[in-house]
């Protein structure tokens, strides 16, 4: 099969090259390869990990998918409803928002671009992006990794507007900029946006692929990260480490395979280490969509590799610049705020707050 592809000169459309079960009219580059060039919006409401109630069931019933889409539509519409212009300030002590919003509320709906439904692959809705392990959830973590994760979680407490970390006399989450998440520092995106693996997040889900025979570039909107995939090359030497890892590509029939290693100690993929190894695949599905799948392994973290897949729908939208560091007022505010809260706590009770 591969020799047949190589022997064809550029410009010959490859109907006769159709591999296993692919649509007859996959777009192709002049040298006959599937062409993944384009702009994509990968936003989706399908979660990475499967809600436990679905057990080992990868397929999401259409009624359930419809319910998810409708709930989303309603939540957005509710948020976009007119408010009372003479409303009051929100409640003191916080508005009860949980998680990342941190008790001070999150964004209005017009900022968010997280998709309007669960995704479908070849007509089938899925309960999760993860397809293996069969329960659609991360494999068991190694004891060391579990311990590290619990350590990091201690940094995340409800936002009470107080310097709670002073109680424990240890390293606090706001002691130094280096302790803040990579997204807050504007080094990488919020979540594993470029990864790899590349995962959908709350907004800025646009990706752009430009491809020639020697190089494939995947431009990821957040954090204007260009992943340069060197085709048919060797990995960089072990002492060369990269924020986005070192990606080499090859063809397996009509599937583009990307192998990435050489990560730095801090990776976008949460919990992973420098030994992270990701293999990604791009292919055209029967329904004509580009399907992105990936296998993640990090023996320091997970007891076995895990695999996921989701489609990359093409979009007519454009990607816009994500100049993060240049507009990062927030990081200074976060650090200064922590210093002020610490001072206030120490002024009120000097014995409790001292180092």
């Amino acid at each position: 099969m591969k020799n047949l592809i190589r022997s064809l000169a550029g410009g010959v459309v490859a109907a006769s090259l159709a591999g296993a079960a692919v649509a007859a009219d996959i777009p192709r580059t002049p040298d006959g390869r599937p062409d993944f060039s384009g702009t994509y919006n990968v936003a989706t409401l399908t979660p990475l990990q499967r809600p436990e109630m679905f057990g080992d069931n990868l397929v999401l019933a259409p009624e359930e998918a419809a319910r998810i889409a409708e709930e989303e539509r309603k939540a957005l519409a509710e948020d976009l409803e007119r408010d009372d212009p003479n409303r009051e300030a929100p409640p003191k002590g916080g508005d009860g928002s949980t998680g990342a919003a941190g008790n001070v509320g999150g964004y209005n709906a017009f900022w968010i671009e997280r998709g309007d439904g669960a995704f479908q692959i070849n007509g089938e809705f899925r309960t999760s992006i993860i397809t293996d392990p069969p329960n659609g959830r991360f494999p068991t973590m190694t004891p060391t990794a579990m311990k590290d994760m619990m350590e990091r979680r201690r940094f995340y407490r409800e936002n009470t507007g107080e310097a709670w970390w002073l109680e424990s006399h240890e390293v606090g989450p706001y002691d130094d900029p280096e302790l803040r998440p990579l997204g807050e520092r504007c080094l990488l995106g919020f979540g594993s946006t470029a990864g790899p693996p590349m995962l959908p997040v709350l907004y800025n889900n646009t990706k752009r692929i430009v491809q020639n025979a020697n190089t494939v570039v995947i431009l990821v909107e957040m954090n204007h990260d260009a992943r340069v995939v060197r085709m048919n090359a060797e990995h960089a030497p072990a002492d060369q480490r990269f924020w986005l890892g070192d990606s080499i590509g090859s063809w397996d029939g009509d599937t583009l395979v990307i192998d990435t290693t050489n990560f730095r100690d801090q990776t976008a993929m949460y919990n992973a280490t420098r030994d992270l190894h990701v293999v990604e695949r791009f292919r055209y599905g029967e329904d004509g969509q580009v399907i992105y799948s990936f296998t993640v392994e990090d023996p320091n973290v997970w007891s076995e590799p895990w695999t996921g897949e989701y489609p990359w729908p093409k979009t007519d939208d454009r990607m816009f610049e994500y100049a993060c560091h240049e507009g990062n007022y927030a990081l200074g505010g976060i650090l200064r705020g922590a210093r002020i809260l610490e001072q206030e706590t120490m002024d009120a009770k000097p014995e409790a707050g001292s180092e």
């Binding site: 002590g93 941190g102 001070v104 999150g106 709906a109 017009f110 709350l202 507009g327």
Partner: protein
């Protein structure tokens, strides 16, 4: 009391991918839940920057003096895809913001909920008619 969409979604997300959601955005680290505010005044400038748009407004205090405040929003890129431009939200437009003050006590607040002075959400679609989906949203199917 209405929670914003992100809070609702984040609550859902928390159950499924806790660390990812926690890594998500800076509001929890930056703003003080014990300092709620309501700001009302004309827009003076919009900084269409990432990671967060900043909307500058002039707030008149009870004693008549004016203060400059900055309100933190989300990424402008979502808005640009909905057809907004640097001319949207012109200076002088009256807005109302309910949110919380920055922990560093500066004149900054999170744009938890930003509306026009008639209560309509700002940045509603490219034509700004105020309807949640006015056909300008390319994601509508």
């Amino acid at each position: 009391m209405k929670t914003t969409v992100a809070a609702t979604l984040a609550a859902g997300a928390i159950a499924l991918a806790p660390i990812a959601a926690l890594a998500h955005h800076a509001f929890g680290a930056e703003f003080d839940p014990n300092r709620p505010l309501l700001l009302r005044g004309p827009v003076t400038k919009v900084e269409w920057v990432n990671p967060h748009t900043w909307i500058h407004i002039e707030v008149e205090k009870d004693d008549g003096t004016k203060e400059a405040w900055m309100v933190e929003g989300g990424t402008p890129n979502t808005l640009l895809r909905n057809g907004l431009t640097k001319r949207s939200l012109a200076p002088g437009t009256l807005i109302v913001v309910d949110g919380y003050q920055s922990k560093d006590r500066s004149n900054r607040a999170n744009g938890r909920n930003v509306t026009l002075d008639n209560g309509e959400k700002i940045f509603m679609g490219s034509s700004g008619t105020g309807a949640p989906k006015d056909g300008a949203d390319p994601r509508e199917r």
